[in-house]
């Protein structure tokens, strides 16, 4: 009975708590600057959210996908399936191919950073961030749809 609801709930408060615990666990970390701190936070958020999706899963609905209702760029509401665990795996592969593009996705998507902030952290232009973001997003989509690539 205690099942479904508790299992699928991840409160913001619980998330912040978890982030805090993991953060103070990094005793050895020497914070170089603000950018370094933000980059680590994005990584932390990624770990927490992916761990959560993996542990509590959404397996009953097929894979680890969460069903989401989102508005596209034109403001039209669409239903989409989103799989954090699959994204994490694809992102790892992308990072072997092109580390900076994987970082752009990590900072913007998991860290919630703007283009400007991402550019500051990575020490590149905003234009580069936009271009990286666009190609990385396309690459991840193709990867996650299970199409074979060139290898």
């Amino acid at each position: 009975m205690l099942g479904e609801h508790t299992r699928h709930t991840l409160q913001t408060s619980a998330l912040v708590n978890e982030a805090y615990i993991r953060l103070i666990d990094w005793k050895g970390v020497r914070w170089q600057n603000r950018a370094h701190f933000f980059a680590m936070c994005a990584k932390l958020m990624r770990n927490i959210l992916v761990d959560y999706a993996r542990k509590h899963g959404y397996q009953k609905r097929g894979g680890n996908a969460i069903k989401l209702t989102l508005e596209d760029a034109a403001g039209v509401t669409v239903e989409t399936n989103f799989d954090l665990v699959a994204l994490d795996k694809a992102l790892l592969e992308l990072s072997n191919l092109d580390k900076r593009k994987a970082s752009v996705i990590e900072l913007r998507f998991f860290g919630g950073m703007s283009v400007e902030e991402t550019a500051e952290v990575l020490k590149v232009s905003e234009d580069t961030v936009m271009r990286d973001w666009r190609l990385a997003r396309a690459w991840l989509l193709a990867k996650m749809s299970g199409e074979p690539d060139e290898g």
């Binding site: 760029a73 396309a138 989509l141």
Partner: protein, 94 residues
């Protein structure tokens, strides 16, 4: 994939995505010459991008929040802990 190959794909992708239909096809035809694999890879990436325009459009935290809200609608009663957070937020805004 080799780094040079990836760089080649990247350049073609950014140029081709600005073009439409016949123009794009003609551009890729010329730029890829006999390298069919290269053209296929670029077209595959463009197709992926054009197929889904909501992927990663919101930050992860916001998507989780939306998932939560949808979950709550399906399950009825709000979670007590979350109600606490909400109240706290209201207090902070005063």
């Amino acid at each position: 994939m080799k780094a040079e190959r990836w760089q080649q794909i990247e350049e073609l992708y950014h140029s081709a995505i600005e073009l439409r239909g016949q123009e794009r096809a003609a551009y890729l035809e010329g730029a890829c010459a006999d390298d069919k694999g290269l053209r296929k890879e670029v077209e595959r990436l463009i197709a992926a991008e054009e197929r889904d325009d909501v992927f990663l459009i919101k930050p992860a935290m916001e998507m989780v929040a939306r998932g939560l809200a949808a979950n709550k609608r399906n399950n009825g009663s709000p979670d007590p802990d979350e109600r606490k957070t909400f109240r706290l937020r209201i207090l902070c805004q005063k």
